[in-house]
């Protein structure tokens, strides 16, 4: 243990963040302003997610951090170590063993349970931001439910690319009321947002906003009647574990344009391989091992 207060933040700050979280849970999809603190990491590295995690962690929790699905990237490792040091909580890479999971840009493949909390790192919480730069105006649009503009973005996609080309941070409507940015998760993950058993919390540190989805919330991805929403992924099985139902990363493996599609969720992939599943590229993947 260290000289830091449990989970780095002082108790008053955690209270303030918990109040924002509770308000967010009471109004699903509504962006609650909160007094974001300076954290010992740069903006864009998950300062919002870290503050939300700090506010919900208890000494009995088991903590997991993923970055684009992986447990072993710099961002994931450093945040995991941060809470190991400042909170002394147990950490894990296994999705099912974790009680609090902080994530950047993915939802784990394994379905979450009612005992778990999923904390998202959010860069820009305002889904209308790139269409309407004025905060005063976007707030008004949210409060008056004027969401026509969101469809203008999708319209532009279809007119330019022939289909809805937005592939991440795909806007959703929560409980028929608020339009929400699900953070830059791939749209493949969008269907998992709705009806999820776990609590989902979204923290944006630089933008000072927290929003939330309570368990079993209705979440609908926006679309057109003649261009319905489609949860897309690379059309391959995982090269390492052979899974056909998981979101894939494309990895360049040599200088001759050789590439490998493998699960972005490393825990899911490892689990499957330990249970004897093998993908087509598995023997030749020493580079990655």
């Amino acid at each position: 243990m260290s000289d830091y207060n449990f989970a780095y933040l002082d108790e008053q700050t955690k209270r303030m963040i918990r109040r924002a979280i509770l308000k967010g849970l009471a109004i699903p999809g509504y962006q609650v302003p909160f007094a974001s603190r300076e954290m010992p990491m740069p903006y864009g590295w998950g300062t919002g997610g870290v503050q939300v995690s700090a506010a919900v962690l208890t000494p009995e929790d088991t903590f997991k951090v993923i970055d684009q699905g992986a447990d072993d990237t710099t961002n994931a490792v450093s945040i995991r170590t941060f809470f190991q040091r400042t909170a002394g909580v147990a950490t894990t890479t296994s999705t099912s063993e974790a009680s609090v999971i902080q994530t950047r840009h993915r939802i784990p493949e394994e379905p979450l349970t009612e005992d778990q909390i999923l904390v998202y790192q959010v860069p820009i919480p305002e889904p209308l931001r790139f269409l309407e730069p004025r905060e005063s105006e976007t707030r008004k649009m949210h409060s008056l439910e004027e969401y026509g503009l969101m469809h203008v973005k999708l319209y532009e996609d279809i007119s330019r690319h022939g289909h809805i080309a937005t592939s991440y941070a795909y806007p959703v409507k929560v409980e028929g009321r608020y339009v929400m940015d699900p953070s830059p998760i791939p749209k493949f993950d969008n269907p998992k947002l709705g009806d999820m058993a776990a609590i989902q919390l979204f923290g944006a540190g630089r933008e000072q906003r927290i929003y939330a989805l309570p368990p079993y919330t209705q979440v609908v991805s926006l679309d057109f009647e003649d261009h319905p929403f489609e949860a897309s992924k690379a059309d391959h099985p995982c090269g390492l574990c052979g899974a056909t139902d998981s979101y894939l990363d494309e990895v360049i493996v040599d200088d001759d344009g050789g590439r490998l599609f493998c699960c972005s969720d490393t825990d899911y992939c490892t689990d499957r391989r330990e249970n004897g599943h093998q993908g087509p590229s598995f023997p030749g993947s020493e580079v990655l091992a």
Binding site: L131, L144, E146, G148, L149, H151, V152, Y155, E156, I158, S159, R160, F224, E225, D226, H227
Partner: protein
């Protein structure tokens, strides 16, 4: 006949400075009203008060709504007023850049109001948008081009298409021909006149160009220092101005 819009003693001050004061008039369906006056005479303030962009300090702006009949738009709830702003009202800005989304294609600009009132079928929205581009004499092939690639006159026509796509009943125009060269102005006026007559629109046009009101407006109000100094039929006011300021205004027009 019931007036579509009746304005009663509208006043707006900016601190000690008077924007417009004690303006009253009625606008009947299908009628085009011109408001002329020099810069700073309160024309635009009055227009913004009527269109709900500014809250007047005193007075009423009663609009004959489709659902509930005459209603004061000043005291009406904001969602309702904004709904009017994207259905029954249209606002054409002097600078197309203020009224268009410059980063969005022409089709998206026209379709925005449709999507704002609940259209969710891409094919229909696009069909409607191309149809409207043709009505304002923009080549339908340019539906996916951004307004930044359009000329000033085309941008202004696109702005008009974007505003008229939901079939409004009342159009507010703030110097719609300002900043355009004369031949483009003439085409735009011709187009506007056609649209106003075809769709039976009522319009309020703020301008300092007397030729514009002569062509478009049925009635005319002359404003000076925030007050209406003279009002009447357009031809009557322009041919036989009574107030010294109206006389000055009419005599100031350069003859070629």
């Amino acid at each position: 006949m019931r007036p579509l819009l009746s304005v009663r003693t509208v006043s707006k001050r900016y601190g000690a400075h008077v924007g417009c004061t004690d303006v009253s008039f009625d606008l009947y369906p299908g009628e085009v009203m011109g408001i002329v006056g020099e810069s700073g005479s309160g024309k635009s303030t009055l227009l913004n008060c009527m269109a709900g962009h500014l809250a007047p300090d005193a007075g009423e702006v009663v609009f004959d709504t489709r659902a509930d009949g005459p209603k004061d738009t000043v005291t009406m709830l904001e969602p309702e007023r904004r709904m009017l702003g994207r259905t029954d009202w249209a606002f054409v800005h002097q600078h197309p850049r203020d009224g268009l989304r410059m980063g969005v294609s022409a089709g998206g600009n026209v379709g925005e109001r449709l999507m704002a009132v609940g259209a969710r079928h891409y094919g229909d929205i696009r069909g409607n948008a191309t149809d409207w581009l043709e009505r304002v004499e923009i080549d339908a092939a340019r539906v996916d081009d951004r307004p930044t690639t359009f000329s000033g006159g085309m941008q202004q026509r696109l702005q008009i298409a974007r505003n008229l796509v939901t079939g409004p009943r009342l159009v507010f125009m703030d110097e719609p021909t300002g900043g355009l060269d004369v031949s483009v102005q003439a085409r735009l006026l011709d187009l506007l006149r056609g649209l106003v007559r075809d769709m039976g629109l009522s319009a309020i046009i703020v301008t300092h160009d007397l030729a514009v009101v002569r062509l478009l407006a049925d009635r005319l109000m002359v404003m000076k220092s925030g007050r209406v100094v003279e009002a009447g039929l357009t031809d009557q006011v322009l041919d036989d101005p009574q107030h010294p300021y109206s006389q000055l205004l009419v005599s100031s027009v350069l003859q070629v």
